[in-house]
């Protein structure tokens, strides 16, 4: 039934490795970008707050496929921005990480902002009374507590990101979804078996993420 896997024609592990790499790079990028965005969204400067609000609402509500294709067709094919990649393979990977980071960062930002709301107002007021600047209040007092409150929602974002990497196939990044298209093209007689293999692959990637981070969320949460 699954004999198409034995032909040696398909590098299943290699394709899923690219998926994992895409996920890790984009996760790191969107965690940083999301935190910065969250900081801007709660900053005392109205103009910066406005910028972050507009960015989050525009990017969050744009279909990811449109964003990623826009990166490739707009930035790379039309404007010639390749992010230092020499081949389409390198460029495509970097553009995909850029698109995924821009998109996932908005969800990280909103999760963090909800975490910031769980920190009692007295904490920030006390910190300000000690003479700490806004940046110090945010990084020393508020964000550390906020992060511990939002591990579980961030796990959801990470799981969604893992699956969203499949959109990178739209610009030719050789990850799992692209290999699936190739296999369906060649093995159309085993359509559902091919699909089951890839569904199983993603379950293997995302289930442990959810279990691990769910456990961490329970351990780390600030008891109030």
């Amino acid at each position: 039934m699954f004999d198409f896997l034995d032909s040696g024609q398909y590098d299943l592990l290699g394709a899923f490795w690219v998926t994992v790499q895409l996920t890790l790079y984009s996760a790191a990028g969107s965690l940083i970008w999301g935190t910065v965005l969250a900081g801007i969204r709660v900053s005392p400067v109205p103009l910066m707050r406005g910028f972050a609000a507009v960015y989050v609402n525009v990017v969050r509500n744009t279909p990811l496929t449109a964003l990623i294709l826009g990166c490739s067709l707009g930035l790379s094919q039309t404007l010639g921005i390749t992010l230092g990649g020499d081949t389409f393979k390198e460029t495509g990977f970097r553009l995909a990480v850029l698109g995924l980071t821009a998109y996932t960062g908005t969800f990280v930002c909103e999760a963090l902002r909800s975490g910031i709301n769980t920190v009692p107002v007295g904490q920030a007021e006390a910190a300000r009374a000690l003479g700490l600047s806004f940046f110090q209040v945010l990084t020393l007092i508020v964000l550390p507590q906020a992060f511990r409150a939002v591990i579980a929602p961030l796990a959801n974002v990470l799981i969604a990101l893992t699956k969203n990497t499949t959109v990178a196939a739209a610009i030719g990044v050789a990850e799992a979804a692209l290999l699936m298209k190739e296999m369906i093209e060649n093995e159309a007689q085993a359509l559902f078996e091919v699909f089951a293999v890839f569904a199983f692959g993603f379950v293997v990637l995302t289930l442990p993420t959810g279990l691990l981070l769910g456990w961490a969320a329970k351990r780390m949460a600030v008891k109030r």
């Binding site: 094919q77 495509g92 369906i184 093209e185």
Partner: protein
């Protein structure tokens, strides 16, 4: 507790696989047959997105060589043009559309090969296409497949043409894969890619489009042989014989030549003569 979690994981995976299977198998419709109440109809699967081959125009009409062949064959089977219902047949779904009975025939740049014959039968072939390259009109540096190793190429994600490039034709070529050919044309026009590769019939359709006239040309390399057949339900010898007879008649009475000229002509495309029918009787 641990056992319960592992069990839940397995159950989830199985449930996913089952639902996936269900959505394919569950859609038994009466399409493709003559059973529709009030006048008989025939459902034919074609491509909706390949100019020159099978295209659904914005005003809801269908054009292309496959459409002309489908219309001719349907007429020979006893259906007027108004009794044909065209249904989109995406490459990966063609086998299932036929075996589920959603369509009676698939005429959708459908290359005959052994893997596909495990699930469906073919009539024909009615057309011989080759994998070829579409390049900018002023391109002269590509004359053979090896030239591609230093070039930037574009094709459709997972397609046979893209796989041919990666495994056989030019493994060192820089290959960009997009979901559709239209995206590749953007890069080709902006010189981000040097060539677009797929069957020459499809390329000719793009080159012949009004908005692309004079911008692109076919390189004229025959990189593979693609025998297009008409897909039909496995084991339906009666239908296969009738379709083959219709194709023979189409070639004999000149309708085949006319259809080729009409759909591929403007691209300065030298078509192969009508192939011998090899499938079935």
């Amino acid at each position: 507790m641990k056992l319960y979690k592992a069990g839940a994981a397995v159950a989830a995976a199985v449930a996913l696989a089952l639902t996936a299977t269900a959505c394919g198998g569950g859609s038994k419709s009466s399409g493709g047959g003559d059973s529709a109440a009030g006048g008989k109809k025939i459902v034919i699967g074609i491509k909706f997105d390949q100019p020159g081959v099978g295209l659904k125009t914005p005003d809801g009409k269908f054009t292309g060589f496959d459409v002309d062949v489908a219309t001719y064959v349907a007429k020979e089977l006893g259906y007027e043009a108004s009794q044909i219902e065209f249904k989109q047949a995406v490459s990966s779904e063609r086998e299932n559309l036929i075996s589920n009975g959603d369509v009676k025939l698939v005429v959708a740049s459908y290359s005959i090969n052994d893997k596909r014959k495990e699930k469906v039968d073919f009539a024909g072939p009615y057309f011989l296409a080759h994998q070829d390259l579409l390049v900018r009109a002023d391109e002269t540096s590509i004359t053979k497949a090896e030239d591609l190793n230093k070039k930037k190429l574009c094709s459709v994600t997972g397609s046979t043409s893209a796989q041919n490039v990666k495994t056989k034709l030019a493994p060192e070529a820089d290959l960009q894969e997009f979901p559709g050919y239209s995206e590749c044309l953007t890069g080709l026009e902006n010189k981000a890619v040097d060539a677009l590769t797929t069957d020459n019939s499809i390329l000719a359709g793009y080159a012949a489009q009004e908005k692309n006239k004079g911008k692109f040309k076919l390189a004229g390399l025959s990189l593979s042989n693609e025998n297009y057949g008409i897909g039909l339900k496995k084991g339906d010898k009666d239908l296969q014989t009738k379709v083959n007879a219709a194709l023979k008649k189409m070639v004999a009475d000149g309708a085949w030549d006319a259809a080729v000229k009409k759909n591929f002509g403007p691209a300065n495309y030298k078509n192969e003569p009508a192939p011998q029918i090899t499938e079935g009787s």
